[in-house]
Symmetry: C2
Subunit: 330 residues, 2 copies
């Protein structure tokens, strides 16, 4: 294992020190391992997310104006505790209630649920949306139902914009649910990833094989196949998405996401292949994102997320955002 | 070799198709392999850069408002031809002259120089700045003198802002030279990289060794050592920079750059270590950048760039920029 780390058990602690040192927008509570926005906005709905670490910039890199108010950083690929999520919720609450954005993994759902109950005991109103956009498998290693993956970035962006615009908790929740309903994702892995505290790859993948439908923790997908060219791999991720949701003739936001160790040149190349397939279905890409937005440590590979949008969702997507991971509009 | 590509010889062509499809700010001339800004600004000094491909987002990802007007994409790790640079210069010229920003590699310097002469024949005034910020080695595989690496990103940003503000070619050149004079970089590699058309790693690096002072094409650095922890590796990149330039007590922009395959969590962790060392020298980091800004395909590792700034450089750095690789302020 070759990594830029100190002791494997200190990776998350040390990375949080670096995030706080680098990002002037956030503060970090190092005991609770919660990253939260430095400047609070009174009367704004709070947006909270979190999950296992190892998916950076998700979630801590999305804390800032127009997106998250607080993010709870769990152990590597491990749900944050209810106490962590409660602390994040307290930081995000300024009286208008808090929305929890939860990726659909059993531990995350359970712990966010407990935190919401604990917050209710403190008279903080919490609503929850569950992101479950991965079309690869119906149930998986860590989930009942579909896994929550790339769409989470767009839920956080769009719900964050709605909250920043002063919308009520009910309205912010409604738009977040609309995103969840209209988005789908699918990914492929060329290599495994290595959790620092484990020290060896999460799974074995022969030199000439790839995993179709991989999860963001290295969970198995649909099948293993021999490596194919980008043209055919693009079909492998586009087709299952289009079979699952009728995007034909729609306007979409398309996110071609790298899993952590894939160079940007390859991601652009893959996007070009994906775009041709979308064009053929008269799917109009209104906004394209190409880069590392939700990663799996040092895994090589990519995922595609499509979100069907209308003018309202597009306006919220385009609204100013100022985080280390996404920034535009101001 | 596991990559998201079609035929290895088509990687650059295919990636340029993807860049043009994804980025609404740019157009691509696919014959010349030049990425240029869609909207031209009459009377603005043109900013042109370019170099071998494989360092994305550098340079094509920095074409847009407030940064580059055109970038010439050479073959992988290979200088663009004089014809390519001339075409980029023609695209960038709107009558106020053009600044060439050239990384100090023998082929790049020669071909940009020839292009400048060809442009002069067309009555386009061209000035040139050479970036040579890498403190690792004095001469190297592809250079007489120091290599141009991470500082290039900051030269492009700051010169781009000066041009956007309506400064003259002489003034834009002067501020670019000021950046070149006041910036230094140093990098380390944990792994080699694999050029697609070659199909195997550029160099061999045993499982427990790393290369100190690596170049962005896998050229040898200062020495190979056994893998160390991040705390000691931070010293390995900070110390040579501080020995080469007196940053003590200065205000700086610090860029902790990933080489392509290193996860963001590790980059943040390394930044935390670097920040402690800078604090100890009373170096005040005014702006921090942590991420993949100038890469070496799928190499794992990082580099640090420090630029001593005054109010003028900081104001130009903070000026609005709208490219796929760097975006803020509007």
């Amino acid at each position: 294992m070759k990594k830029l780390i100190n002791a494997p058990e200190d990776v998350i602690k040390d990375a949080l020190i670096g995030i706080e040192a680098a990002d002037p927008r956030v503060l970090v509570d190092h005991e609770e391992r919660v990253i939260y926005r430095k400047e609070k906005v009174d009367g704004k709905v709070g947006i909270v997310s979190g999950g296992g670490s190892g998916h950076e910039p998700l979630h801590g890199g999305y804390v800032g104006k127009g997106m998250l108010d607080a993010a709870a950083a769990g152990e590597m690929f491990t749900s944050p505790t209810p106490d962590q999520v409660l602390f994040a919720t307290q930081q995000a609450n300024t009286g208008a209630g808090v929305l929890h954005i939860v990726k659909n993994y059993t531990g995350d759902v359970m712990n966010f649920d407990m935190a919401a109950e604990m917050a209710a005991d403190e008279d903080i109103r919490v609503e929850t949306v569950i992101v479950a956009d991965d079309v690869a498998v119906e149930d998986s290693t860590f989930t009942a139902g579909r896994r929550g993956v790339g769409l989470t970035v767009l839920v956080e962006k769009i719900a964050g914009a709605a909250a920043e615009a002063g919308q009520s908790l009910d309205d912010v929740k409604a738009v977040a649910e609309k995103v969840c309903k209209n988005g789908r994702s699918m990914g492929i892995a060329l290599t495994s990833c290595t959790v620092p505290a484990v020290g060896h790859p999460t799974f074995d993948l022969p030199d000439d094989e790839i995993e179709i439908g991989i999860g963001i923790h290295g969970e198995p997908g649909r099948e293993r196949i021999k490596l194919e060219d980008a043209h055919h791999l693009a079909q492998r991720i586009v087709t299952p998405i289009l079979e699952d949701f009728d995007f034909e003739g729609s306007r979409v936001i398309a996110m071609l996401n790298g899993m952590g160790a894939t160079p940007l040149a390859e991601l652009y190349l893959m996007y070009g292949e994906v775009k041709q397939l979308l064009d053929a279905e008269s799917i109009s890409v209104e906004r394209a994102m190409v880069g590392n937005y939700i990663t799996s440590l040092d895994m090589a590979g990519c995922s595609l997320t499509l979100l069907k949008v209308d003018d309202d969702l597009l306006r919220l997507f385009d609204a100013p955002v100022n985080t280390s991971g996404l920034r535009w509009g101001e």
